[in-house]
Amino acid sequence: MYPASLSKLMDELSRLPGIGPKSAQRIALFMVKRGPQDAQRLAEALLAAAANTKRCRECFSLSEEDLCGVCANAGRDHSVICVVEEPRDVLAFERGMSFRGLYHVLGGVISPMDGIGPEQLHLGELLNRLRGDTVKEVILATSSTIEGEATATYLAKLIAPAGVNISRLATGVPVGGDLDYVDEVTLSRALDGRYRVT
């Protein structure tokens, strides 16, 4: 058996996504071997990230400020909003550097089996952003899973009265595909190939 503090670390690590008991054990033993200085650095980084990261008040992407770097950037095209499921989808688009507009992070997709309905998503906030005439186009970039498609259809119905152009990210994103795993080239091609919904 391992000493209590080491088992405790393994237990905490194994709760992280993608880390099973074996990896948890490897990471824990590695940290112990490296000594207290490295552990201190990691612990501080963890604390700082958890304490300083919050949601952008406009787009709900991750940010250290009230407004994220994208929303605060006057050089971005404020007339286009790309609607995505999670903050990591924003990173996927930003890596590609082919999109100059703004984002809106829903915080998930409609999925009754996970107990997620429209009321759990940042939909009202999106509608608020469409008031006024700044925004001309909304791109629905949810994944092409059943849930992503249903959410896009729901959004299209919801946004229609706002009178903006609505397009759906079309080609290139594989069925059941997760934007996070789509490479940048595919993503920029998908942006070019988006089609009008209304």
Partner: protein, 351 residues
């Protein structure tokens, strides 16, 4: 496709076994000896799925740390492949095809297997779900786009069920799932009906070859909606809310099997039902062969027990083109030229 060798370890009541297959193979042994387990191991080795259970954890031999199957297979293009599948009580199945990790679902298309088990009489007399599953398993292996369609449709159905069972379901969301379900249902029912068109002639021919009599076989697909699934879904919405189920869609369809103009389910004799059921399976082998270009392996579990000598002889002739692995409690005299394995207590006792 031909399976050439099979190694089995820690599987059901089999500690370890090595088999070398010919075109025609008979596994003989008393009930519980392990002959069906060997046949099951062949199905698992090639397709990663069993015809006896959905839960592959059931396969692990009592007291064993792991189970493993390794099969070598020759395909039509003369290529040889090695499929190795193993699992432990801790870790689920891992599949290696020619030493590369692959998904378990890929195997069913590359190495088609068609199995007949005595319970297959339910194809004729059983519940509609058994007949839908029969059609869908042929479609899913024949066309990857239909496979994706079927899995999407199953997911839509699951989401819809969760939605109507939830407190205060959002009606716009329900509208969206109903539209998705309706369009998937139309596509699936059309694909199934087309398939039945192909199957009808093939099954009639095999049925005739097995029975030695000319009997007319006719399939009629039954949709669970009248003209438009979406309007029927909307009409049955309050009923669905009460029952927490979805009463219209691809998952409520069925097909009627008619023999000489009468529904086989209620009018056919036991012998007719059995022959029809085998004809349905062998017919599916021919359709799969046409669609994937690879003749399936036939596994016939306990078929010959209830057949008289002449019917058994006709069946053997009718399946002549397929590699076959059959099980039986005793030797069958018309099958002397088959390669026979005798199995007892989970071991091969003679070959």
């Amino acid at each position: 496709m031909n399976v050439v060798t099979l190694q089995v370890e820690g599987f059901r009541n089999i500690e370890a076994a090595d088999l070398l297959f010919q075109t025609r193979n008979l596994l003989v042994g008393p009930n519980g000896a392990g002959k069906t387990s060997i046949a099951e191991a062949v199905a698992v080795a090639l397709n990663g799925r069993s015809f006896r259970t959905f839960d592959l954890a059931m396969l692990l031999r009592r007291g064993a740390d792991y189970w493993r199957t390794v099969a070598t297979v020759n395909q039509e293009d003369n290529s040889t492949h090695r499929i190795a599948i193993s699992a432990t009580s801790q870790q689920r199945e891992r599949v290696k095809l020619d030493d590369r990790n692959v998904r378990i679902t890929q195997l069913a298309t590359d190495f088609p297997v068609v199995t007949f088990i005595p319970e297959d009489r339910d194809l004729v007399v059983g519940l509609p779900g058994i007949r839908r599953e029969y059609l869908d398993s042929i479609l899913a292996r024949s066309d990857p786009s239909v496979y994706r369609l079927l899995s999407r449709a199953a997911k839509i159905l699951k989401q819809r069920r969760n939605l109507i069972r939830s407190n205060n379901p959002d009606i716009v969301t329900l509208d969206i799932f109903d539209e998705e379900l309706a369009s998937a249902s139309i596509l699936i029912s059309d694909a199934r009906e087309n398939l039945l068109g192909y199957l009808q002639g093939v099954v009639e021919e095999f049925n005739q070859r097995i029975t030695g009599r000319s009997e007319e076989v006719c399939f009629r697909y039954l949709r669970s909606w009248k003209n438009d699934p979406l309007s029927d879904l909307k009409a049955s919405r309050s009923y669905d809310f009460r029952t927490g189920s979805t009463s219209v869609g691809f998952h409520r369809d069925d097909f009627i099997i008619e023999l000489n103009g009468l529904p086989a389910k209620s009018t056919a004799s036991q012998g007719q039902i059995r022959s029809l059921a085998i004809a349905l399976r062998v017919g599916s082998a021919q359709v799969l062969q046409n669609n994937i270009g690879e003749p399936p392996l036939l596994i016939l579990d306990d078929v010959f027990a209830e057949f008289d000598r002449s019917r058994a002889a006709r069946l053997v002739t009718a399946i002549g083109q397929y590699q076959t692995i059959a099980t039986n409690t005793e030797h069958v005299d018309i099958m002397d030229d088959w390669s026979v394995y005798e199995i007892s207590g989970g071991r091969i006792v003679s070959h």
